[in-house]
Symmetry: C3
Subunit: 110 residues, 3 copies
Amino acid sequence: MELKVIIAIVRSDALQAVESRLQQAGVQGITVTQSKGYGEYRNLFTSDWMSGGVRLEIYTAAHEVDAIVKTIIDAAHTGEPGDGLVAVLPVDRVFSVRSRSETVPNRPRS
Amino acid sequence: MELKVIIAIVRSDALQAVESRLQQAGVQGITVTQSKGYGEYRNLFTSDWMSGGVRLEIYTAAHEVDAIVKTIIDAAHTGEPGDGLVAVLPVDRVFSVRSRSETVPNRPRS
Amino acid sequence: MELKVIIAIVRSDALQAVESRLQQAGVQGITVTQSKGYGEYRNLFTSDWMSGGVRLEIYTAAHEVDAIVKTIIDAAHTGEPGDGLVAVLPVDRVFSVRSRSETVPNRPRS
């Protein structure tokens, strides 16, 4: 099965909404990292050039990508500069450390 | 030479064992980031949904990937939920900042 | 348009110079994460094996990659161990959260 990773860089204050919507959509695993951004991602209301952001990383089957991307954008969108971006990258393989075998993360419950 | 990046998201308390085994296996370069996870990566023994994790990133030649993935899984496996995952992604090129030229990181000593 | 992500892992004290040069070169969006490295990236002048580093992530069009990689290396190079690395990975698609549509980040101003 073709795998992808979705990397979303969004405002820190959008994190809770994004996580909540992803859980409702059945996304079972997310990795979150604190990050800083500047440039087109910056928050114009902060006093300095750098602004706080979070980086989400979600491994999933390719056919789940469009729905997950839409969920993230719906939850993180404000329309202001600094809303961030969502990128989709190819992945060769994913292994579960618990089962010691290849896995398809975030497979929908059906 | 074909290059890959191995991204491992494991329990924070597995980090020392993973690093130690990778060094013994001759892996010369690792980048470690603190992260948070939820969902299938969560630690059921923490009181909240989010649990601490670490994200390791290792650039290497494609033919080294299977051995490095096995080393990480052997060191990080507990069999409980929250053990994390290991992903393999394609990489076009890697440059050494010190030599200013293309490089193959984590080439085994032979 | 073909997209790539440039991931640079450099010394923490090189961050300001790298950001400044990238801004001068018209790079509009960078995500920065604190990280730790060891192995060939280590700083031999620190007392412990782990040393501080930063991880930069820049999404851009494929034809911008060589210039951005050169800018990063020029700004981060000291010639000593621990200078770090720059990697280039393929990207399928990037979406702007603000516009809710696909985008080409860090397109040069021309």
